[in-house]
Symmetry: none
Subunit: 229 residues, 2 copies
DNA sequence: GTCCTAAACTGGCCAGGCCACCAAGTCATC
DNA sequence: GATGACTTGGTGGCCTGGCCAGTTTAGGAC
């Protein structure tokens, strides 16, 4: 290997403080929900000015690691995986995508999540799904249901990715959803999915979700879907 | 559905500016490498003070979306997926549960990508895979091969997802890869996958990739994997 | 033309201050 | 005595203005 010098990455004060606080959280010296010292105090402890500390805090807030409450204080966030993965949205919104790719990805992920939900959902989660089925606003119900299923699957990573797909597909979904007849059939298909999950039948849940997505894809005019799952 | 008020989330000026700049990048109004106006200038344009703008910039820098060069200016970063994902490594350092989720997600996505690659890869892509098999540096070969398969599958969205999993799992993968015996068997399994793709046999490719991942997961000591794909 | 230097520009950091907001204690009311 | 409105300290949000250090560039010496 050639020399390749990549020296000194001289770190700024604010970036250094970010690293420090992250370390303290990983080490357990800071725990979720804990309140940090006030900015004026903490800036003195760290020997940096308040504006610089504020840059540090703002960085960690944007990573969902800290949480600032005006008038109250700055706290360590809950640190649940879903929230920490939220910046993923930006990454995925950059990758080029077509409607076909979107459906292909959904067709891969959602049936699997439905199957996982069938084995892992608790009673409360199933109840929430049933409540979503009854929601009068059909579009809101659709979004909520798919979200609930993803959450019940117990894999924050996949759920976050699906969430991103949902955001990316919002425009095309709005178009599709307004076609007459689509909504009624959607409601029936949704009910079938929830029923399968409620019966704790992963294979049926997977099949029902697959069927549901295939029909939506056809209605949206997507090209042939390559997955044979 | 019950009431569930989660109102107003009043956004701060700095957070709003973060959103704005992200939007401009997604829209293409800002492109990688582009230089932003000087802080004093930009703060005037956005009608916020310089310290507040600096909080905004610092946030985006910590997400590897912007890059500040002292004395020169602030630039839009290259925005390659790996760099954008790096700040999310923090998630992995928090919980072992996340490692299980990672394998679960890979086990879902990679076999599907292998199957897609089997139907869509062109001769050049297959040749590149064979070249990767011959690469002496085993770790580099592993990364490259999985990447090539994802590219050959022809779905940028899914490829990005997989790369996300890859970057997030880098730490744990390094541990696993160093175990004796693991690498040799990995090489054989890789060859089987590429062979299946070369034969244009999606089902075989899917199966070979599934088998490969299951063994890796077992070697890494991951918990039970819920997917029955 | 080449090289060097100095000035102009840019991000890094700081001090000090005002405002909006929250939470807890106080006080009047019932 | 319990309950409600009110006051008060503490907190984050934001700003003005400034100095320093690094980079860039244009002008001048050769």
């Amino acid at each position: 290997m050639t020399a390749e010098f990549t020296p000194v990455h001289r770190s700024s004060a604010a970036a250094e403080a970010v690293r420090l606080i992250q370390e303290m959280i990983v080490d357990g010296r800071l725990t979720p929900g804990q309140r940090l010292p006030a900015e004026r105090e903490l800036s003195e402890m760290l020997r940096i000015s308040r504006p610089t500390l504020r840059e540090t805090i703002r960085s960690l807030v944007s990573l969902n690691i800290l949480e600032s409450r005006h008038g109250s204080g700055t706290y360590v966030a809950a640190l649940d995986t879903a929230a920490l993965l939220e910046p993923l949205q930006f990454v995925m919104s950059l990758s080029g995508r077509t409607v076909d790719e979107l459906f292909e990805a959904r067709l891969l992920i959602e049936p699997a999540l439905a199957a996982l939900a069938a084995s892992r959902a608790d009673a409360g989660q199933v109840a929430a799904m049933r409540a979503a089925l009854a929601e009068p606003d059909r579009v809101a119900a659709d979004v909520a249901l798919h979200r609930l299923i993803a959450d019940a699957a117990g894999n924050a990573l996949l759920a976050t990715m699906l969430q991103t797909l949902s955001v990316l597909g919002r425009a095309s979904r709005a178009m599709t959803a307004t076609r007459p007849g689509v909504l009624r059939r959607t409601a029936a298909e949704h009910a079938a999915i929830v029923d399968a999950i409620d019966r704790r039948d992963p294979d049926a849940a997977r099949a029902a979700m697959t069927e549901h997505l295939r029909r939506i894809a056809a209605a949206a005019g997507a090209g042939p879907i390559g997955l044979t799952t």
